[in-house]
């Protein structure tokens, strides 16, 4: 190639030295691609210059009970089914509006359209005054009250408890220790049960390497920034792939709308109360007491075998926060005769939010619940 200039090669690459016929199909697709590039630039400029706050959580709801920071919301339906659903998400980490992100992309909207009266427990955002709140308090004081209020509000005699992520082991503890509250069905969505199989968090929080007492004693509550750092470390390439996908789909207004809502949620981390975190890491991650049957709450032993109602367990194939094997473990531990496990495509979040969830997860959950409600 010698002294040939780079520009000359580009010139020949672009035009060729001979006329090459370009098919109408290829020509049309180039035109489409150029249009997409224009839309990308337009949407990018709009996002930078005039960012619009996405309107999340639009399904109508009613606050029916509050206890300290926690709230119980009712989402009314046509009530095709008698048994209401009490949804228990994670405490701390993130806000629960991910379950009602946007119209048409909302788990709550799906469930109410299917005819389930849906009750969402929003644990709230805790402050330093809540540092004494323990996980045991949540299981023995908050959850029973929320369940009673759900029954009271719906007028039903039984309820379905649906736990997601950390909400699932918490709910499992509650269902196993409160036989006086009639739980008709229990659903675990991406909630770890066997903490010996929880992947990276399990390794990092191993008691040989992580001194939870010291951590809590020095910091008090686990600040939201610390929670963010932990989750970012879990998947360091996440931001890169998120931004790459955003650029690729930036021409698509619907994608941009969904991205903005999800991005708002994904960057809103919530702190853990000090004593809650101590017990969560110490008893669950470090000693796996729930799965081993060594946990006691409110003076009662927590034996998962005491859960005898129908149980549905949903794991996500690419879940690195609650790997499927740690979720599936519930099936072997409960005393139920009617139990089922499904492993669906997606990760910890895409299992319950987004297009994939609307196709794979939500209909499976509502279909399983329908004949049992």
């Amino acid at each position: 190639m010698g002294q040939e200039r780079f520009a000359d090669i580009v010139e020949r690459f672009t035009h060729g030295s001979e006329a090459i016929p370009v098919s109408p199909e290829v020509s049309k697709r180039w035109q489409e691609e150029i249009e997409r590039a224009r839309l990308r630039m337009k949407n990018f400029a709009r996002m930078m210059a005039d960012p619009v706050e996405p309107k999340t959580g639009q399904t109508p709801r009613q606050e029916i009970y509050k206890k300290n920071k926690s709230r119980l919301y009712r989402y009314e339906s046509a009530r095709t089914y008698r048994t209401p659903v009490l949804f228990v998400p994670n405490l701390g980490i993130s806000r629960p509006y991910i379950f009602d992100l946007l119209p048409g992309a909302s788990f709550i909207e799906h469930m109410t359209r299917q005819g389930f009266d849906f009750y969402l427990l929003d644990w709230g955002v805790f402050g330093p005054e809540d540092n004494g709140l323990t996980l045991e308090d949540c299981v023995t004081r908050i959850l029973p009250r929320m369940a009673s209020k759900t029954l009271e509000s719906s007028g039903a005699s039984e309820l379905t408890v649906l736990g997601y992520c950390m909400g699932a082991p918490l709910s499992a503890c509650f269902v196993a220790t409160h036989p006086e509250i009639a739980v008709r069905n229990f659903v675990n969505m991406a909630g770890p049960i066997d903490f010996a199989k929880v992947g990276l968090f399990g390794v990092w929080l191993d008691k040989r390497f992580f001194n939870v007492d010291r951590f809590v004693d020095v910091l008090g509550a686990v600040p939201a920034d610390m929670v963010r750092a932990g989750f970012k470390l879990l998947k360091p390439t996440m931001d890169l792939s998120t931004n790459l996908n955003l650029w690729w789909n930036l021409w698509n207004d619907r994608y941009v709308e969904g991205f903005s809502a999800l991005n708002k949620w994904a960057n809103e981390y919530v702190a853990f109360p000090a004593e809650f975190f101590r017990q969560w890491v110490g008893d669950f991650y470090q000693q796996n007491k729930l799965y081993r049957g060594e946990l006691r709450m409110g003076g009662r032993p927590v034996h998962l075998s005491r859960i005898t109602c129908p149980v549905f367990v949903v794991g996500a194939k690419e879940d690195y926060i609650a790997p499927p094997e740690s979720v599936k473990a519930l099936l072997g531990a409960v005393g139920s005769g009617d139990k089922e496990y499904v492993e669906l495509p997606g990760g910890h979040i895409s299992l319950i939010a987004g297009r994939g969830a609307a196709v794979h997860c939500w209909p499976r959950v509502s279909r399983w619940l329908a004949p049992r409600s």
Partner: protein, 168 residues
Amino acid sequence: MDSSAATQQLFDLWKRQIEEGTKAWARMIGEVPGAAAVDPTAFWRPLMDQGITAWSRMLSQGPASPELLTQWKQFLDQWIEAWSKALGQAMGTEAFAQALGKYLDQWLVTQGPARKAGEQAMESILQSLGLPSRAQVTDVARQLVELEERVERLEDGIAALLKRADGK
């Protein structure tokens, strides 16, 4: 010279530029006295080569089509996924967990006294201004939470008594 040859030349030139650039970076890093020369590109180079070869092959087969962009996106996705897997494997080791634990311990050693000093300084400022300290406000909030809890227990007790009375 036909267009496929031009395409090949373009990519050869591009590849050479990338290689020259990375060599220069590697030389620069390796120039630290006493340090062994490291190749920061060793991990992603095979992937990069693979992607460029695939792209070059596609271009040489006919006129450029928008499919190339899709291929490029797929290549980047695979590249990120490969990084993610490699990092995941490295971070899933006990050695990493140990290093992370040590780092956190050291951070807490400095963070503890710094936080305490900060809180004390803030308390004395607020005190001198005649304002309640953060600890005092937190105490009041805590008392409210406890009060709410007591009221709830009383409500529960009354409800239980009423239920019992109704039963009789």
